[in-house]
Amino acid sequence: MKRIRIDGRPLDLRNGRIDLTHGAGGRATAQLVAELFAPHFDRGENIWLRQGNDQAIMPPLNGRLAFSTDCHVVTPLFFPGGDIGTLAVNGTVNDLAMGGAKPLYLSAGFILEEGLPLADLLRVAQSMARAAAIAGVYLVAGDTKVVERGKADGLFITTAGVGVVPDGVELDGARAQPGDAVIVSGYLGDHGMAILSQREALGFDSPIESDCAALNGLVAHMLEHCPSLRLLRDPTRGGLANTLNELCQQSSAGMRIDEAALPVRPAVRAACEFFGLDPLYLANEGKLVAVCAAEDAAGLVRAMQSHPLGREATQIGEVCTDTHGFVRMTTNFGGERLLDWLHGEMLPRIC
């Protein structure tokens, strides 16, 4: 992301809109970067962004490199508890953190739709800068492209990031063993329901906010208190149910989950009842699933509860032997049912 001084009139950040010149690579592109992105991403200390070359060159890293990328498309761009910018930063930060890595540097690619208000883009850049500051990472490289009106939904953001995994940390989705404890860090389904409540077709007001947050601080805290941690995973798209199924496949094991232990806010539960949806399939953007040895579970839950992002942490079940990799759930009702993968899109019931 080059920083170039632009002469002439500054961008009209209040009423201006993205047009095709902003993507042409000329003066308008440079001005957009210099006036809209760079001032916020710089934070007064981002020497890598300031290099102004086609790449950012970072100092040597001390440890194994973790590398991840995440694309973000969301309607609406702004929702209670966050926006596409916070999602883009936290999404990649969390993907790195789930490997036990300390996230360090991010890049961001922006696909802008012709007509996007500059004020919206500025708001997104500001929240990305804020999210990066909270997560302790730097946005060191970026790119913008503009597509014609109708060819994108306002704004798409792709972030990629690198981090360092400390020696001795070996988190891997294949490490769940029969007898291990399955833990979640808090209320499930908040993000998915916050987004659904904003879609105009549903037309309901709700006090539910997205849980979008960077989890690297919580993860560092957990690793400190529980060296036997086997794996972490953030239950984003597809929700808890999909994540547990993924882990069972990877680990060639099954799981038994206790429905009564699952933390779901009453407002989310109520909205799900109303629409015929299941909160266990709704996306989370600030929650994690942890698996650890059974004897360490109570200590880990206590440690998580002492962190602001893990206050409602609780054990929800255990890993068991199962050749089919099924996730079974003991229902509140005393029965047992399968907690299956999400098939197709999650759709409200007709009847």
Partner: protein, 378 residues
């Protein structure tokens, strides 16, 4: 949550299960059909079969709106969008129903057709108001529960003289389907767990002639697990006592006469269609609704001169027998192998209310592994 949590209390469920256990006579079978997909879903989701004695058999009925929609009606809808370039709005589940030649509304949409998922007929109406340059067709389907919203949309369209809106009406009726099932094989069924939401609209009265004519008890039942268990208990009692009455377990929502205003809207806009093809059941007399001639301008079938197309189900698929309660999902050779919710061959695998999808989603481990049910009396 009030009115929900109470109906999911496990201690009450166990108490009811014990009562059923005590009263069900070991020397006879109780074959009870839950007509509605909502009940099928609840039974699978809460594992209710495990709470019942082995001689009480729950048979899944045809009450799943997308399951009983014949392939030909989906083919006609796809042809409509392609030939007339209309915007077709419908409920989400319908998009995935397999049509002929591996087609579906989803695939038609991917190929460029303007097909949109809506949550209610009001959304389709609103789209028509906002986009006067587009011809918007609402693909209405479902039982008596979803019929009044379609009727209201027709009334609003006429009231506003909204000329770019029309309805492709596929609404079907519950009591005629129950009659058809009984006339076809009454000896297969001992009683009905009667519809829940449907009955809030039509009331309890329309079931009385069915119960009397075939001498089979019908208990109108809510969609929560306690509701279902209580209904089973009521049915067992009726059967033991030789009664065949319509009883209302779902008194918190269903009255004898139902929702008269909703019924009036339907009567004003729609009329009987005789007969109508149901997937699995074949032609069922007087079992569906069509748009009245006074509303012809808003009837997509008349307006676009839509063709009836007949198409057969995939040969290996047993949806037909499953919808009539003759077979269970696991009896089907393609269940869970060629036919899964990700790539359904038959409609019962599409909707979460379909018998196959419910069994696949919640219960299929019961077949693969020996039963290890926790907390359920055998």
């Amino acid at each position: 949550m009030k009115y929900v949590d109470e109906f999911r209390r496990s201690e009450w469920a166990l108490a009811l299960a014990q009562r059923i256990q005590a009263e069900a006579r070991p020397d006879r079978r109780y074959r009870l059909m839950e007509f509605c997909g909502g009940h099928t879903h609840a039974i699978a989701r809460y594992g209710l079969t495990a709470l019942l004695p082995g001689n009480i058999e729950l048979i899944h009925g045809p009450g799943c709106p997308v399951c009983v929609l014949p392939i030909g009606r989906i083919d006609s809808a796809i042809a409509l969008v392609k030939e007339h370039a209309v915007t077709l709005c419908t409920y989400g589940d319908v998009l995935r129903v397999p049509a002929t030649k591996g087609n579906s509304l989803y695939r038609a949409r991917a190929a460029g057709a303007d097909i949109r998922m809506v949550y209610s007929s009001a959304d389709a109406l609103e789209l028509a108001r906002r986009k006067p340059e587009r011809e918007v067709v609402f693909f209405g389907l479902g039982f008596e529960t979803t019929t009044p919203p379609t009727a209201v949309a027709l009334l609003a369209a006429r009231g506003e003289n909204l000329r770019n809106f029309s309805v492709y009406c596929n609404h079907v009726l519950t009591p005629p389907a129950m009659t058809h099932l009984l006339s076809d094989g009454a000896d297969m069924l001992d009683g009905f767990i009667g519809p829940s939401h449907v009955s809030t609209v039509i009331g309890a009265a329309p079931y009385r002639p069915v119960a009397a004519r075939y001498h089979r008890p019908i208990v109108i039942t809510g969609f929560e697990p306690i509701d279902v268990l209580q209904a089973v208990h009521m049915l067992v009692r009726q059967i033991n006592e030789g009664r065949a009455e319509v009883e209302n377990q779902f008194t918190r929502a269903v009255t004898e006469q139902g929702n008269l205003r909703a019924q009036a809207c339907v009567a004003q806009t729609l009329q009987l269609r005789d007969p109508f093809e149901w997937r699995g059941l074949g032609m069922v007399p007087a079992s569906a609704l069509a748009i009245r001639p006074e509303f012809a301008a808003w009837d997509a079938e008349r307006r676009y001169n839509m063709r009836e197309s007949a198409a057969a189900d995939a040969k290996a698929c047993m949806c037909g027998d499953i919808l009539r309660g003759l077979k269970k999902p696991e009896d089907c050779k393609v269940f869970g192998t060629a036919c899964t919710p990700a790539s359904p061959m038959g409609a019962c695998m599409v909707s979460s209310e379909g018998a196959c999808a419910a069994h696949y989603q919640y219960g299929r481990f019961l077949r693969k592994a020996p039963k290890t049910t926790a907390g359920a009396p055998a």
